[in-house]
C-alpha cells in the first residue's frame, strides 16, 4: 500500500499541493435480518477504494474512487487538486492544520472471535431462537432480529510522513417486536432502538449478550402496550433509562458541541449550534452533577479508534465539567478556533468515498451515585421512560421532543406502577440538563451504540457510543399531543 499512498502524495505535490493525504479502505460488511422467521434482509459486501485530500493555494479539494490502481490514483489526485484550486477562487482564510506528531504505526480493535468466520448457520440459529420467542404471541405481527458486522482496514498516509495501518471491527445485534390489534400498533425493542447492542468487538458480543433472556419480557411488554393508556399531558419529574438517555445525549449534547456546526458549516443542512464561542467556559450547561466526556479510547465504543482520519491519536476530553461547558469536538483544521494547539481527534469519514469532518466521538455522561432502586425510591410520582421511538430537535439544538416506547408511573413506594403507551417529552436543552438532579452510579452505567448518525452534504453516516446511567430530570413537559 505504501507505493500507492506515496504515488498519491507525489502526484498532489506535482499538482501544487502544500499538504495531501490518502485513505485506502478495504471494507467488509455482513448484515442479517430475520423477519417473522424468514430472511428479511441480507447482504455480505466487500468494497475497496481510496479518498485523497489536498490543500492547494490554501484551500481544500477532495476526490475519491472505487477502483484502486496507479492510473486511478494519479487521476483522482489531480482531480482533488483541481477541485482545491476551484475552492481557492472564493477563499478567505488559509487552511491551517494543528500540529500532530508523525506516526508510523499499526492499531487494531481488540476482539476475540472474527465474526466473518462464524457460519451463517450459527448466526441464523441464534436469531431464530429470538424470533420464536417473540412470535409466540399472535398479536406480534412483526418480529425482527438483526446481526451486523463491519470490518474496516484503513491505510492513512499524509504528506507529513504519517502512515497508519488500522483494523476496526464492529459488531451489532438486537431485535424488536411490533404488536398490532384493532388499529393500534406498539413496538418494543432490545436493548435499544438505534442499532441494538453495538460495540467495537467481535462475535463475542453476541455470545455474551442477554438478548435471549429478555425476549419474552420485550414481547409481553409490546402486547401490554396495546391496551395501556396514553401518557397524560402535563409536567412531571422524569427518569430516563440509558437507551433513551443515550439519544438525549447524542442530540442535545453531542451535535451542538461539534465545532464545525458552531462555525456554520452545517447551516444549510443539519443546522448550527446554540453553543457559540463566547459560551465556552462561561455557560452553565447543566447541573453540578452533569459531566460529559468525549472518549475515543473507551473499550468497546463504536467510535473507539487508535487514530482519527486526520491521523490524530485518540484521546479523552471533557465537554461539560461539573455542569460548566468547557470544550468542543475538534479536528486539526478547527482546533485553533477553540484556542487549542492540538485536535481532539474527532475527524472521521464514512468510508473511503467521503471527506472526513468533525463527528461525535463516544460521548459519555459520567456516573453519579446510587442504584436504580435508590433512584426509584427517591422519585415517587415521577414517570420512568424507556427506549427511543421518535426524535426531533431544532437547528440550534435547543428545543427537542422525544418519543419513547414505554413509560411507567413510579409509585409512592418506589416501584413501577401503571404502564403508558406513546409517552413523549419536550424541553429546552440547558433548562433540561440543569434540572438533572440524580444520576445513578457505575453499577447502572452502560455503553450503548448509535449506528445511524447522519451529517454532512453529501450525507454521511457514522457510529458512536454513549455511556450513561438512569437519570432524573425535574418538572418536564410530557404527553405532548396525547
Amino acid at each position: 500500500m505504501r507505493d500507492f499512498t506515496q504515488l498519491a502524495i507525489d502526484t498532489c505535490f506535482a499538482e501544487g499541493a502544500s499538504y495531501a493525504d490518502i485513505r485506502i479502505i478495504f471494507s467488509k460488511r455482513e448484515d442479517l435480518t430475520l423477519r417473522n422467521g424468514v430472511l428479511g434482509s441480507v447482504n455480505k459486501s466487500e468494497t475497496l477504494g481510496f479518498g485523497i485530500r489536498a490543500i492547494v493555494k490554501d484551500s481544500w479539494g477532495f476526490a475519491a474512487c472505487g477502483e484502486l490502481n496507479a492510473e486511478e490514483i494519479k487521476k483522482t489526485a489531480a482531480l482533488a487538486c483541481e477541485t482545491a484550486r476551484a475552492s481557492s477562487t472564493l477563499m478567505t482564510d488559509p487552511v491551517r492544520l494543528a500540529d500532530e506528531p508523525v506516526y508510523d504505526t499499526v492499531w487494531t480493535t481488540p476482539y476475540i472471535i472474527d465474526p466473518f468466520k462464524v457460519s451463517i448457520e450459527e448466526k441464523l440459529g441464534f436469531l431464530s431462537k429470538i424470533d420464536a420467542i417473540l412470535r409466540k404471541n399472535p398479536k406480534i405481527k412483526v418480529a425482527e432480529s438483526t446481526m451486523r458486522f463491519w470490518n474496516e482496514r484503513q491505510w492513512l498516509a499524509t504528506s507529513e510522513g504519517t502512515f497508519i495501518d488500522q483494523n476496526l471491527m464492529r459488531s451489532a445485534t438486537g431485535y424488536s417486536a411490533t404488536a398490532v390489534e384493532n388499529g393500534e400498533m406498539q413496538r418494543r425493542s432490545y436493548p435499544s432502538s438505534h442499532g441494538g447492542l453495538a460495540m467495537t468487538m467481535g462475535y463475542e458480543l453476541v455470545k455474551g449478550s442477554d438478548l435471549l433472556e429478555n425476549a419474552e419480557r420485550i414481547r409481553d411488554e409490546a402486547v401490554a402496550l396495546l391496551s395501556a393508556p396514553v401518557l397524560p399531558s402535563g409536567k412531571r419529574d422524569m427518569i430516563l433509562d440509558p437507551a433513551q438517555l443515550a439519544l438525549q445525549i447524542h442530540e442535545s449534547c453531542g451535535h451542538p458541541t461539534e465545532l464545525d456546526r458552531v462555525l456554520g458549516s452545517e447551516a444549510n443542512y443539519a443546522g448550527r449550534s446554540f453553543l457559540t464561542l463566547e459560551k465556552l467556559n462561561e455557560l452553565k450547561y447543566g447541573s453540578d452533577i452533569v459531566n460529559l466526556v468525549i472518549d475515543g479510547t473507551i473499550p468497546g465504543g463504536l467510535a473507539t479508534v487508535g487514530y482519527d482520519d486526520d491521523g490524530v491519536r485518540a484521546s479523552r476530553n471533557y465537554l461539560v465539567k461539573n455542569g460548566l461547558f468547557v470544550g468542543y469536538k475538534t479536528n486539526r483544521e478547527l482546533a485553533h478556533v477553540a484556542g487549542e494547539e492540538r485536535s481532539r481527534g474527532c475527524n472521521r469519514a464514512d468510508g473511503y468515498e467521503n471527506l472526513p469532518m468533525v463527528r461525535q466521538n463516544n460521548l459519555c455522561l459520567l456516573p453519579g451515585k446510587g442504584s436504580l432502586d435508590d433512584l426509584l425510591a427517591d422519585s415517587p410520582g415521577a414517570v420512568y421512560m424507556h427506549n427511543n421511538k421518535s426524535w426531533s430537535i431544532d437547528q440550534l439544538r435547543v428545543n427537542f421532543q422525544f418519543g419513547c416506547e414505554a413509560a411507567w408511573d413510579v409509585t409512592k413506594d418506589g416501584k413501577l406502577g401503571q404502564m403508558y403507551k406513546n409517552p413523549n417529552y419536550q424541553g429546552l436543552t440547558t433548562e433540561f440538563w440543569n434540572s438533572c438532579d440524580f444520576i445513578c452510579g457505575p453499577e447502572e452505567w452502560v455503553l450503548l451504540g448509535v449506528t445511524n448518525c447522519g451529517k454532512g452534504q453529501p450525507g454521511q453516516t457514522a457510529e458512536m457510543s454513549h455511556g450513561c446511567a438512569p437519570s432524573r430530570f425535574r418538572n418536564v413537559t410530557v404527553g405532548i399531543g396525547n
Binding site: T33, V38, L39, V42, N43, K44, S45, E46, T47, L48, G49, G51, W60, A63, A64, C65, G66, E67, L79, E82, T83, A84, R85, A86, S87, T89, L90, S119, I120, E121, L124, S128, K141, E144, G183, M185, L263, G264, S265, E266, A267, N268, G271, E353, N354, S390, W391, I393, D394, V398, N399, Q401, G403, N422, Q426, Q457, P458, G459, I480, G481
Partner: protein, 446 residues
Amino acid sequence: MNSDKAREISERALSFTSADEAEVILQGGASSLTRFANNKIEQNVNESGYSISVRTAFGKKVGRASTNNFDDASLKKAVESAEIIAKFQKEDETLLALPEPQEYGKIDNYVEATAAFSPTDRADAVAGLINRCRTESGLTTAGIFSDEAQYLALANSKGLFAYDRMTSAVFSGTVMTDDSAGWAEDNNKDVSKIDLEGVAETAIDKALKSREPVAIEPGEYTVVLEPAASANLVIFLGWLAFGGLAYQEGRSFLSGKLGEKVFGDNINIDDDVYHELSGGLPFDFEGIPRRKVALVENGVAKSVVHDRKTALKEGVESTGHGLPVPNTSGPIPLNVVFQPGGVSKEEMIASTKKGVLVTQFHYTNTVNPMKLMVTGMTRNGTFLIEDGKVTKPVKNMRMTESLVKILNNVDMIGKDLLKCRGFFGGGLVVPSLKVNNFTFSSGTDF
C-alpha cells in the same frame, strides 16, 4: 457506464452462479458537491464508483452479496458468498420466482451538461450568492452546489435486463444575519436550468425580512405552508401509510380503510414517476415497470403501492415499487405527486385574517404512525400574517400535528408545484398549502 458495459458485467456475474435463479443489480456513477459556509468554499468533493449486488436463489432459499470490484475473482467471490448464504436459509414459502423480461416506459432524465459539470463550474455557480453576501453588510451564506450522474442496471437469469441513467443538480443556499435566516433551493436534471439568481434573491430576501423576530404563543393557527414546508410533512404519507406491506400487516393508518374518505374533498395524491418534475427510473428493484398509482382521489384513499409479493397477496399486479429483495420495509411510494390547486401563495396570504407563513420545517419525525402524527420545527423564515398581509417575522416554533387533521383542513392549494428534497434524502412534488387549525406545540427564543 453505458448499457453495453453494464450488460457485460451483469452477464459475466450471472455466468458464475450455479443457483436455480440469480439476479444482479449494478449501480453507481459520479457525484460532486461544492459546500460553502461563512462566505467561502469549505468542502469540495468528488466521488465515483459502482457496486454490484448479486442475489442467488436455490428453490425457496435466497442470499445476497455485493462488491465494488468487477474483475472475475471479485465477482466470483460475491456470487459464492450469496450462494453460501442462500444454502443455509430456511425455505421462504413466499419467495417468488424471478420475473421474465419486461417492457419499460421511457423517461429521459439524463443531461450530458450536468454529467460534465466541473469544479470550476461549481465555483462559478456559487460565486454570485457568496459575493452578494460579502458585499451586503452582515450577511453570511452557507449551502451547496451538487451535480451527479447515476446509473442503474438490473439483470436476471431469465433474460430480464433493465438499464437507465439520470442526472441531477442542486443549488441550495441559506443566508443568515445575526438574528435571522433565509433559505431557497432549486434542483433540476439539467444544470443549466438551475435558477442561481432566484435562489440567491429569495434566500437573502427571507433573511433580511426575518430580522428581529417576535415571539407568538404556541397554539392553533391558520398556516400558509410554502412547498418545502408542505414537503416536509407530506413525505411521511408515503413512508407511513401507502406501502403495501405496512397496509397488509395492519401497521398503516390506512389498514382497512381503502375506499374510505380519509382526507378533505380537495386532496388528490398520486405516485407518478412519469410526472415531468418527478425524476426517477421507469423500473423498480425487481425489474418491474413502475406504474402511476392514484393514492388519494378527492380525499378517498384509493390504493397503496405494491411489490410482487404484496401484490400477490392482494390478488393484484405489482405497481413497480419494489425494493431489492429481500427487504424488511416492503414497497414504498418514491415519487409522490400532490396535485396542485389554482391559487397563488399571495392569494392564500391575502385570504388569511391571522396566520403563520412557514418556509420550511426542520427535523420532522413521526410521533404516532397510526395517527400520522408528526413533529418538527419551523426554520429559515417564519412570518405572521395579519389581515391578509405578512406583517412581521416570528420566532421559530415546534409543530406537533396529525397529517389526517392537516389534510382534512386544507383550505387552499397552490398552483406553484415544485419538486422538493426531503430532510435526510427523499423527494416529492408538492404545492403550497393553506391549512386551518394547525397546531404549534412549543416555541423557541430564536
